[in-house]
Amino acid sequence: MNPQPDNKLESDLARLTVWDGGAPDLWRAALAAASVAGTKTARWFASRWALGAFGMAAALVVFVALLPSLSRSRLRTYEPKSAAIPSAPSLAKSEAFLSPSFGDANDVARNAGGEGRFSNDNTESIPSHHFGTPSTPGGGSGAVQSPASHATAGRQIVHKATIELLADDVRAAFLKAGQLASEAHGEYVQDSALTGADDKQLQANLTLRVAAERLSDVLNELRQLGKVRSERTDGEDVTSRAVDLDARLRNEQRVEAELLDLLESRKDAALKDIIDLRANLASVRNVIEQLTAQRQNLARLVSLATVLVIIRPSDTPAVPPPTGIGAYFGDAISTMWQKGLRVLADTLAMLLGALIGGLPWWILLAATLLLFRNARRQSCVDRDRRVK
C-alpha cells in the first residue's frame, strides 16, 4: 500500500472529527445534572454562610468576653497622671487604704496589707457626701453630718472618709492627725507616710481607723489642722452580707450538731463510716471557722471607720493655666495628639487581644475551612468518577 496523497490525508483528517450519528441531546442531561449540582452548591454555600455566621458569632463572643478585661487594662494603663498634685479622690482610688470585703477569711490580710480598693460588690452604696474646696478659707467650720447618724438600728454600715488638707506645717499636722486615733476606743493608724525632699514638697498620707460613732468628731478635729481642700465620705451597707453570714453560720452549726449527734449515736458503726463522718465534721468545722472570721471581720469594718488623710503644704504652687492663643493652640494639638496615640494603642490592644484571646476560635475556623475545602475537592473527584 502506498503512502496516502495529500488530499486523501486531508479528507481522512477531516473525517476524524465528524460525528456520524444523531445528536443525543446531551444538553438536556447536562441541564438536569447541573440543576442537581446547583442545589448541592447552594447547600454548600448555605453551609458556608452558616459557618461564616457561626465564626462571626464566635468572634463576637470572644470580643465581648475580652472587652471588660481590655477596659480594665486601659484604665490601668492610661489612668491620667496629673502633673500637678493629685486630688484626694483620685488618690483615694489609686492608693489603697481599705480593701473590699469579699466575705472570706482573707479580708483581714487584705486590709492589713492595703492592697485592695473600695468595692461595692454585694453591698448597697449609701449616698456619699462630697465636698469640694470649702468657701471658708479657714476651713474646719463646715458642719458635716455624721455618717454614723445615717446608720439606723440594725443596719450594718462600713464608713469611709477622705479629707485633703493644706497646712502651713505639714509635719506638725501629720503628727497631730496621727494622735487623733484613740487607742482607748480600739482605734489605730493603719498606715502613715511622710514624703518629700523639702518642706515645700512634703506630703503626708495617713489611714486612720476610728470608731464609727467618732468619725464626725475626728473629721471635725482634722479640719482644724489646716485648710480643707476636699472632703468625701462614703458608706457601704453590708447588712445583707452580715445577715447572710449569720444565716450560713447558724446552718453550719446545726449541721455540726447533727453530725456530732450522729457520731455519738453510731459508735458501733463500721470504722470506715466513722472516719467518713469525722471527715465531714472537720469540713463543716472548717467552714464554720471561715464564716466566723468573716463575720468578725465584717463587724470590725463596721465598728471602725476608715479615714484617709492627705496633708500638703498650703503654699503648693498651682499649675498655671496656659495663656495666649499660641499656648492654647499648642495645648490643643498636644491633647489631640495624646488622644490619637491612646486610640491607636487601644485599637492595637483590642486587636491583639482578639487575636490572642480568640486563637482557639481562629484555629477551629481554619480547621473547619480546611475540612470544607478537602470535602469539596473530594466531591469534585467523586463527581468526575461518576461521570466517567
Partner: protein, 183 residues
C-alpha cells in the same frame, strides 16, 4: 425579517431562564462538538459524549461568568478541549496511543471495506502519536465547524504560527504514515 440570534444572545437568554436558547445552541453546536471530541479522545464515542455533556454542564454552570471578551464558540471549544484532556488523563493517562483502533471504531464502520477502515485507523493512530499541541492543531484545523482563524483563537496562537505548526504536523503525519505503509 428577524435576524438569527447570536450565540452570545442565546447564552444571555439562557441566563434569564430561557431553556429554548440552550436548545438552539445545542442544535447549532452539539454534533460539531461531538465530532471534535471524537477526534480528541481517539474515536471513543462514549468518552466523546461524556466530554460534550460535561462541556454543557460547565457552560450552564459558568454562563454567568462568560464575559464576552471572546466569542461563545471559542469559549465553548476551549472548554470542550479541556474536558477531553481531563477525561483522557482520568483514563489512565494518554491511552489514545495504546487503544486498539478496531475497538474504538464505531459500529457503523464495521460494514466498511476492511482496507478503508484500516487506512482511516492508521491516520487516527498517527494523529494520536503527535505531540498534544500539534494534535490539537491538526484536529481543529480539519474540523469542519472551524476556520483556521477560529482554531488559532481557540488555541490562543497567532494565525501564522498556527499555519506553520500545522504544516509541520502534516509533514510529521506524512512521515509516520509513509513509515507505516512502507512495504
Amino acid at each position: 425579517m428577524n435576524s438569527p440570534r447570536t450565540d452570545e444572545g442565546l447564552l444571555a437568554d439562557f441566563r434569564t431562564g430561557d431553556r429554548g436558547a440552550l436548545a438552539e445552541l445545542a442544535r447549532r453546536y452539539e454534533r460539531a462538538w461531538l465530532g471534535a471530541a471524537l477526534g480528541f479522545v481517539g474515536g471513543r464515542r462514549e468518552l466523546a459524549c461524556d466530554a460534550v455533556q460535561e462541556t454543557w454542564m460547565r457552560i450552564i454552570r459558568f454562563a454567568d461568568r462568560f464575559d464576552q471578551r471572546s466569542r461563545f464558540k471559542t469559549w465553548a471549544y476551549r472548554i470542550l478541549i479541556n474536558r477531553c484532556r481531563d477525561l483522557l488523563e482520568m483514563e489512565n493517562g494518554h491511552v489514545v496511543a495504546e487503544m486498539p483502533a478496531a475497538a474504538a471504531a464505531p459500529a457503523s464502520r464495521a460494514a466498511r471495506p476492511a482496507e478503508l477502515a484500516d487506512e482511516h485507523d492508521s491516520v487516527r493512530r498517527a494523529v494520536s502519536q503527535l505531540p498534544p499541541e500539534q494534535r490539537a492543531i491538526v484536529l481543529l484545523c480539519y474540523h469542519g465547524d472551524l476556520t483556521h482563524e477560529q482554531a488559532a483563537e481557540i488555541l490562543e496562537l497567532p494565525s501564522g504560527t498556527l499555519k506553520s505548526r500545522l504544516h509541520a504536523a502534516l509533514n510529521e503525519l506524512r512521515r509516520m504514515l509513509a513509515t507505516e505503509f512502507q512495504p
